[in-house]
Symmetry: C2
Subunit: 466 residues, 2 copies
């Protein structure tokens, strides 16, 4: 079709007629139509356009209108006007695509079941309750909600969180000390290196992704050994400490009372802080609810939580509960104008908590995950009694302890069985000196409900024999 | 009330009876009630609790239940158990508040009208249409939307944006080259220093906030002079350039065709990129629509836009349209797991665009802002004809040019008149060498509709006499 336009004002006119029909301003419509023709490749680079008088006659437009349109498109760089040679389509890059077929390396099949830790069941997002909360939030939001926003996050949400966290987690705070953020990783990026400095004591097993944030921030991390009481914190060499006290990630035990006391005593004495990563504190199944360490000393604990495990990581909503002396520094790190979390999600979550829908959802999911946990534990007891599940009193994952030296082959066997999961080695701090623990980290929340039984079945098949 | 508990098991029992009534597990309820009593200050630090046998008798609970509850609260650090001295409330920090009354410095009154640039009219957020889009989005979202998410952003939104930006702004791209982010500042933080390096040519007048991002990223910026054709780009000394081609911020003119050609030619020859900050490209009132420079050479232009001016800065939604060779680097900078923008807002915006609600809203706001612009221009013509409004063919702000040396006192006069606005000096690059321009930057979108006429009236009063 481009060919026919090269020297044919008639044909260009005929085509453009169609596109100009029914639109508003002739000049603007002509510009749009010509721009579209160039963009789509119907008019190719170098193509000569008909003289503006001819095109004007063809289209029944004033000459000025067409001349203006040509001038505008020249100004925008779509056309070029060369003295004595008329108006042509400018040279431009070819139409765009981005076709990259991912290379398929030889190896195990695409996983059929995802048993990686870290994600809630994506099929259980409470869509109707969330929409109802969004409707209320949009109805009652003051106009200023749509302005640039408070860098701490919306007051409505901070108030709802202060009440909820006190009730559910024993956190002591006021809305003024809460800063809304996009999740725990964002919280770490806010804190390091702008607010807190290294070296930082961390648990010997934890998320590699978090360690990479410290590497980027040039914060040295010092791994703490773990034993049956949790992280060994009696002899800390750093001022600041990062722990997962409610449910050590990923090994699974709660931090023992002695250790809670010791770490709070340490940060109080050293003038440092404990960063308490309460990533799945709501999901505790058996007898002991473990309150947040933050309640023991709010001036020396930075408490961090999010909806990533309770609702969805897609919401990008989390919070920091801060000691008074850190609030301003965190806000400065957050940046004057970057509230990060969208205001409508913030207002919706506030309504969602206020209406009791958050508690209801947590209860529902706690029951579901506990059932899943029980299914896993029972299947192992029956079919692989030599594999001991640990860390199962809480959370969304279990650790299946394995005989020394067998983890690597077990992970490989699981992959060939079509299961995505990680071994404990993936979580080990590279500088850890405690003895290696062999085990599989099994996220039992991730598969959709209908696929869970099959996933557990496949897992049992993949486990090493006794 | 705390006093009465110090040595009185009866009284503690009586109070707790109330709190235990009607709740679930006795042990958990007792733990919660005691924790609440400590947290609220009803049980003060040092208070001795009744022996567990007495409390058990008072409450009609099994002794083990109370002993367990005490042990748990000791483990959590709320209580301390000292051999021979019974169980006491642990020492803890006092209840929390954060009372900081902002210091009121002597000076002009609190502004009655906000004429600062940069914000859309917060009263005009299309709540009903947005809610309708959110409902559709929640209805049709696949389950994986609630999983961890694609770091580029949801495909639905990137597809909607590719279509919209081609149609409205002449941007040539495919969804694969779009990366959703939280706004232009976030875009800059993604690009510098991880993806692009300095020195970077910038316009001599621009947002100080953006310059501070470069300072933090240790990226040197080199100011370009501005003249009647926009930024002077004929003799660039840096590979990379950041411009606001559609509507120079804040002085207001479009980049001239020659300059568009020159800057594209430069980045093509230097192997650099132009970063095109299309912050208010949709709001053009008079005859000339100016397409995005990106359409001229998508492989050498990084196009950045957001909903911050068109809908609300509170949504924290923006986008980068990238040359192919930068996509992977930007995704790496964004971080594997941090999608940043909430998935529901992304899906809602995709529906909002797809349903034509975005175009409708833009049209409505364009009319409203054009009316406001006209009111401002007419008021100045009548009441301060010596003050020339410039940059008014587009955007959400005007620059009122002032005689040399009068800007500072005009800003001060406006503040005393109860108007919040900035002079051009606030936007000038500290290393700029072009001659100083005196002027007021008047954001006419910010005041609510009902207050706009009064704001313009006050502005006319505050202007320096001819």
């Amino acid at each position: 079709m481009a060919d026919s336009w090269v020297n044919s004002g008639e044909r260009l006119g005929a085509d453009l007629h169609l596109e100009l029909a029914g639109t508003g301003g002739k000049r603007a419509a002509l510009i749009t139509a010509l721009r579209d023709a160039v963009r789509s490749g119907r008019l190719t680079p170098g193509t000569r356009l008909p003289p503006y008088r001819s095109l004007a006659a063809d289209l029944g437009l004033a000459r000025n209108t067409v001349a203006d349109a040509y001038a505008e498109l020249v100004a925008e760089g779509w056309l070029t006007a060369v003295q004595g040679s008329g108006t042509r389509v400018a040279d431009r890059a070819e139409p765009l695509t981005r076709s990259r077929t991912p290379k398929k390396a030889p190896g195990p099949p695409e996983p059929r079941h995802n048993l990686r830790q870290g994600q809630p069941d994506a099929t259980s997002f409470p869509r109707a309750d969330w929409l109802a909360a969004a409707r209320r939030a949009l109805n009652v939001a003051p106009h200023d909600a749509f302005g640039p926003g408070d860098p701490r996050g919306r007051r409505e949400l901070r108030e709802a969180l202060a009440g909820y966290l006190a009730r559910a987690r024993g956190v002591r705070t006021s809305p003024e000390r809460i800063v809304v953020c996009s999740g725990f990783a964002h919280a770490l990026r806010l804190l390091f290196p702008a607010v807190l400095s290294g070296p930082l004591a961390v648990e010997s097993y934890g998320l590699a992704f978090h360690r990479s944030i410290f590497t980027t921030a040039r914060v040295e991390t010092v791994p703490l050994a773990l034993d049956e009481k949790g992280a060994v914190v009696e002899d800390l060499a750093t001022r600041n400490v990062l722990l997962t006290p409610a449910h050590q990630f990923p090994t699974g035990g709660p931090l023992h009372h002695d250790r809670r006391t010791a770490v709070v005593g340490h940060v109080r004495a050293s003038g440092g802080v404990l960063i308490e990563d309460d990533y799945d504190g709501e999901f505790r199944y058996d007898r002991k609810p473990v309150g947040a360490v933050q309640g023991l000393d709010p001036e020396h604990v930075v408490y961090a939580g999010s909806v990533s495990k309770s609702l969805s990581p897609g919401l990008r909503l989390g919070w920091l509960v801060l000691p008074e002396h850190l609030v301003d520094a965190v806000l400065a790190a957050k940046g004057e104008r970057e509230a990060w979390a969208g205001v409508l999600d913030q207002l919706t979550l506030a309504e969602f908590i206020g209406a009791g829908a958050y508690d209801k959802h947590i209860r529902r999911m706690r029951q579901r995950y506990r059932r899943r946990r029980d299914v896993l534990v029972q299947a192992l007891a029956e079919r692989a009694p030599h594999v001991v599940p640990t860390g199962v009193a809480a959370g969304l994952h279990a650790v299946l302890r394995l005989p020394p030296g067998t983890e690597k082959s077990a992970v490989k066997a699981a992959a060939w069985q079509g299961l995505a999961l990680d071994g404990l080695a993936a979580f080990r701090h590279p500088a850890a000196t405690m003895s290696t623990v062999d085990g599989l980290v099994v996220g039992y929340a991730t598969p959709p409900e209908h696929a869970y039984a099959a996933a557990v079945d496949e897992l049992c098949r993949a486990l090493p024999p006794a």
